[in-house]
């Protein structure tokens, strides 16, 4: 199983500025290019796409998926996977909204804190299974997906917490605008930059790439592999809990079955954003761009007036198209790499 740009040659190559490293660096640019093409195509058919109200809707729907996709991207970079994100978002959303409906005068910061703590605890449950008991992440989170989702549905007992029982200040979070952009969008941008910086420049972040591209090697290099895996699962849980709170603020109504296929949305955002499913390469910026692309596609399909029944098929085709494109790209990069190495050895 060789991920794109993984393996021992990775560091050396990026120092030399080889073709592969250059391509990897440009991958986010290619995504922005693709995004621009999609936007232009939608605008040509339907100029209303560029109206600020519509763009704001796109940004808001991208925001929620984007924040979860950041955590998912870090987990995939560390060669793990988290299938329980949707259930964690629902749990965070319901528990925090339920608490708020009982304490309507509490500060919103407390609600956000509760959401994050709930998410963090659920993430710690995943961390215990994956890092502590060494159950493969895909299986462990498959189990916790059922446990968390079933748990919150049982706890909610069919109840729905609607805007009528929640204080107005909660819904106002989504309406606060700074410099013309919603607070939620700023939050997503801030988190993307912060986590992007963390992944690229901190020891924790670099270690995630290291153990993603070669777990054995990372262990021999003295990286506390299990502690890092536990950390990244808890981080994902905290992000999910936060998104749960934002979810309630944006939609006004919270029940236990929200975000049913968020795990697939976030994994495909990360993959379309260039994160290798085998770990060790990709970036959280790519995952953020991936989530924006999906939000634009969804909005565009609705706007152009294509029947909503086409949406799933278009998304599926987009995922397949991108991964096939990436594999061609990687193969070509490999070939030119080999050629340049050959030329170097001759000279």
């Amino acid at each position: 199983m060789t991920g794109i740009g993984s393996g021992p040659g990775r560091l050396a190559r990026s120092r030399q500025g080889g073709v592969l490293a250059r391509l990897l660096r440009v991958r986010e640019l290619a995504l922005i290019f693709a995004l621009a093409i999609i936007c232009a195509a939608v605008t040509l058919r339907e100029p209303r796409f560029l109206e600020s109200a519509n763009l704001e809707q796109v940004a808001l729907s991208a925001t929620l998926v984007c924040i979860v996709a950041l955590g998912q991207a870090l987990i995939i970079i560390a060669r793990q996977i988290d299938l329980s994100v949707g259930a964690m978002v629902a749990t965070g959303a319901f528990v925090s909204a339920d608490w708020l409906s009982v304490h309507p005068h509490a500060s919103i910061l407390w609600v956000a804190l509760i959401g994050c703590v709930v998410g963090g605890l659920l993430g710690a449950g995943n961390a215990l299974l994956v890092a502590g008991l060494r159950i493969p992440a895909i299986v462990a989170t498959l189990g916790t997906l059922a446990i968390y989702r079933g748990g919150i549905i049982a706890l909610a007992g069919g109840r729905q917490i609607s805007a009528t029982v929640l204080p107005d200040s909660y819904g106002h979070i989504a309406e606060i605008h700074i410099l013309g952009l919603s607070l939620l969008v700023w939050l997503a941008i801030g988190l993307t930059c912060a986590l992007g910086w963390m992944a690229r420049f901190t020891r924790f972040g670099r270690n995630l790439y290291a153990l993603g591209s070669n777990p054995e090697g990372a262990r021999f290099a003295g990286i506390a592999v299990r502690r890092h895996i536990a950390g990244v699962f808890i981080l994902s849980g905290v992000l999910c809990g936060l998104v749960g709170v934002l979810w309630g603020a944006r939609f006004g109504t919270v029940d236990a079955v929200i975000a049913p296929d968020l795990q697939l949305q976030t994994i495909s955002s990360a993959v379309v954003g260039g994160v290798s499913i085998f770990g060790g390469s990709g970036s959280v910026f790519g995952a953020a761009l991936g989530s924006i692309i999906f939000a634009v596609l969804q909005n565009g399909v609705q706007l152009i007036g294509v029947s909503q029944f086409w949406l799933q098929a278009i998304i599926g085709a987009a995922i397949l198209g991108t991964v096939i494109f990436y594999s061609r790209l990687a193969r070509r990069a490999e070939r030119s790499e080999r050629r340049s190495r050959l030329a170097r050895s001759r000279s």
Partner: protein, 320 residues
Amino acid sequence: MSFPLRLFVRWETFLLLVLCATLILGTHVSRYFATSSNISIALASITPVAIVALPMTLVIVTGEIDISVGSIVGLCATSMAVCLEHKFSVELAMVVGLLVGTLAGLVNGLIIVGFGLPSLVVTIGTLALYRGIAQIMLKERGVSSFPDWYQSLGFGTIGNGPVPWSSLLFLALFGAFAIFLHVTRWGRAIYAIGNNREAARYSGIDVRRTILGVFVASGAVSAVAAIVLTAYLASARSDTAMGLELPVITAVVLGGVNIFGGSGTLPGVLIGLLVLAFVQNAFGLAGMTPEEQEIVTGSVLVMTLAIFGLSGAVRRLWRR
């Protein structure tokens, strides 16, 4: 390690104990648990999952995964429904369903093998694609004009005994898959690929063709599951079998198949399926909602794996 001890630490033996515990628990929960009608209900409700679990075992043993099975089942059910809408006979609809399923599996396999892409990503893509095609074909309509004999395939039992017809179908498929995986050399090739793909390739196994075949089998057998499921539900919609992949993978993993490939047996998967069927049934009889049963399913999966993992750790300590 002596022979009985070695038998004991096998996953299948451990799982058999879990199954016994489930059955004992079930008889304590309700006096209706051990009745033949209840057993037939428990078996009939797990059969679609059980049928898809057979090729999924093969897929996971090769070290791949197929997330798109639920969508393939939905797409087959939708194609059959469209055939019925056009007043074709049910037999023709079943053939069309089987063809569509095989084709869907073939497309999965060709993308994975042809481009050398990870199956997890490809089948996430086709999960959306196939479900989308089903939605385009059937929109929000539901079709329930299945003839009576067809519906008895899902619910009817053999001579009013506890065994549903669909379980007989499953057993026939199970026999075929078990012989294929555990007796033939193609089955050994599947294990070899899951253990070490490079070594398998150097020993002359056509890895790409085998993986392609496994995905085609997954699609074709998903179509069989679609037939059983539409018979069981007596209707077909574009959202039929949404999320089916989760219980299927749960059953396969619970059955002791290594998620990274290379090990696991079909008898183990069979016991895992029975555990799932009777756990859900018992807690349903105890008055639990489907959601609460979902917690139990997840917990059974996580706890059996955790207990087995812990026992392994204890054994390692013991030996030291």
